[in-house]
Amino acid sequence: MYFKNFFRGKKTQMIGIGLSLVVLIVVAAFGFQSIGRNYFKAQASGVTPVITPSTANVATAGTITVAWTNSALLPTGTVITLLYRSLYTGTLTTANTTVNGIAPTAITNVTSLGVTTSSITIGASVAASATLTISMTGLTTPSTAGNYTFTISTPIANDFGANFQYVGQFNVVQVRAFIPVSLSFNIRNTADTADTNICDLGTASTTTVNTCSYRLKVSTNASNGYTIAMLVDGNLTNGTSSITNASAGPTGTAVVAGTEMYGATVAGGAINGLGGTVALTSPFTSVGSNVVAYSNLVSANILTANRPNFPAATDLVNTSLITHRLAINNNTGSGYYNQNVTYRVTPAF
């Protein structure tokens, strides 16, 4: 009932005719394609011979085979043609060449314009769709690295094709780039949100311990990591008197309100280079919240990192946190106390 109604009326008839035409065109296309395939197969076949070995060392003797699928029956006595660069030394003869394991009845070699053309008269027929393998032991690869073609052509089947033998690894494309060691260093606030070059201990009093802190941020691709050292221009001083320095590590000194003391704690943090570690040197390690002396007039290494480091834009892990602590007593002279600290970053070697 549905189909009966479907073909009722002109509109549905037109749709039906259109669909029929589409079906016809599709069928015709498949048919012609099939015919076309057979037609070209009868006329000529582009083949891709397989060269074995596909890679070889320069100036090396050995067996070279050229193989492809033969398109049509080649009777005994058919002459097939092999072309190759005359940079290959040696001559193909019936003694050092076979076609499918059978010695040819004749081979003639003509060299012209750097190409040797070997006409090989096969000693046995080769069936259609069979693999045809020319095996040669009389050639030595060129002494210069390069990609060299072997080209074959046959009558009757009209097979024709070429492929490369890569001599001296000339096919290996070596991509080289020099990436220099780069080293960058910044001093950032504790939250790693802004640059800083001042650590402000504020106004000291005998009832509090004043602190300030900042982060040392090193980025480098140096494979062996980096070193951070420090040196100061002198003690924390007002020009006439200096604050008592803490002891050097590994223990350091506790800072207690009311007892004059100055120093810093170093938290080395981490680095994100694979397998990397950060190690503090002994004078800068301390116990608990103890501080260590920050009074080295000669450069002293604070920490070492043994791998590259690529901290993020804000990174509280792969950066080192330095905290200065100050306490004064009633005898501490008044005035503006300051100290100039230089952090020195070098790549490890």
């Binding site: 080293l183 960058s184 070059n197 300030c212 300051n338 020195r344």
Partner: protein, 340 residues
């Protein structure tokens, strides 16, 4: 209807999320790397009387600071056996003070800008053959403050320059030690740790090259590893530690040690996996190659025997068997005493 559309919605949401995530910066380095120096390591093989030009790119990648940088040539020594330098001023009166001259005495680099710092290395004719070491430093110098208790913070970044003046170069290379973390390694549990220390005597630095061979026959080793994949340098009259670390890798009965990806481990191996027996001893031979002054190739070797024995695995298996046996016995005992 809603149910039918939910997978499509989920797919769309997922796709949009992936696209959104893909557009996010990964580990972005904004303008806060500060003072950048590149290249940071130089090597120079120099002739006596020679003059050599170098340039260093110095960049101000700070957020809000303009840098006034002072270039300075210093020297360095090895601080330890891990390749960390100790930089110090060239002593007064040392002829090295005259070796390096900068084209500029100061670099004013505004934020976001960079400068090319050129310097010349002049090797005096009378220089003795051997290696010499310089740190090419760039320092920010800020004035002291007179306001409260403040610590002024300066930055200095140094490039290292290794110079070898040609002539009679002597190097005496020796293995100070070649050890494994453990002589008895369970190949199914343990990683393989190889540690070696190379000591160098002479008048020139060495970037050791060579291999560590695994196998009882050196002529046909089971696997070959690069001795110094990170191109570490040993200064003369110092020693340098090297560590290799691998993890066990089991693949259908084939046992090998894969390069380590665990943190806090040593050098990453680059050439091949280490093939080891699951039971038995394996010899490791570390061999460093170096060229003598007359051009001849010399080598020094050290050997280490490691015994592979799955003792941890066996303990585990025995423990499991023991537990099962104890369970059975307990069950049997309770059943016998009719408690269950």
């Amino acid at each position: 209807m809603t149910k039918t559309n939910s997978p499509i919605k989920a797919l769309l949401v997922g796709l949009i999320s992936i696209l959104a995530l893909a557009t996010l910066p990964v580990n972005a380095q904004d303008n806060n790397r500060g003072l950048i120096v590149s290249p940071a390591i130089f090597e120079l093989s120099a002739d006596r009387g020679g003059s050599y030009q170098f340039s260093v790119n110095v960049e101000n990648n700070s957020e809000n600071e303009d840098y006034s940088l002072t270039p300075l040539a210093q020297t360095f020594t090895a601080d330890n056996e891990e390749g960390n330098p100790t930089v110090s001023a060239i002593p007064d009166g040392s002829p090295l003070r005259n070796w390096i001259s900068f084209n500029e005495s100061k670099y004013e680099i505004k934020k976001g800008q960079k400068a090319e710092s050129k310097f010349t290395v002049n090797i005096p004719e009378e220089t003795a053959p051997g290696s010499y070491y310089f740190a090419i430093s760039y320092t920010t110098k800020l004035p002291a403050t007179n306001d409260g208790a403040k610590v002024v913070l300066n930055k200095e970044v140094s490039a290292l320059l290794f110079i070898t003046v040609k002539g009679q170069i002597t190097r005496n290379v020796n293995f100070d030690s070649f050890t494994s973390y453990s002589q008895f390694v369970d190949p199914f549990f343990d990683g393989l740790n190889l540690n070696y220390k190379i000591k160098l005597e002479g008048n020139a630095y060495l970037k050791p090259s060579g291999n560590v061979f695994a196998g009882n026959n050196l002529e046909t080793p089971d696997s070959t590893l690069t001795l110094n994949p990170n191109q570490k340098i040993i200064l003369p009259n110092t020693a340098r530690n090297f560590t290799m670390q691998t993890n066990p890798n089991l693949d259908w009965g084939f046992l090998s040690f894969k390069p380590s990806s665990l943190p806090n481990k040593g050098e990453i191996l680059k050439v091949s996996d280490v093939k080891v027996p699951w039971f038995g001893s394996q010899k490791f031979t570390a061999q460093v190659l170096y060229v003598n002054n007359d051009g001849s190739l010399d080598r020094k070797s050290a050997e280490l025997q490691v015994f592979f024995f799955p003792w941890k695995t066996m303990l585990l298996v025995l423990s499991v068997i023991g537990l099962i046996a104890a369970g059975y016995y307990g069950y049997w005992y309770l059943a016998r005493t009719k408690k269950i």
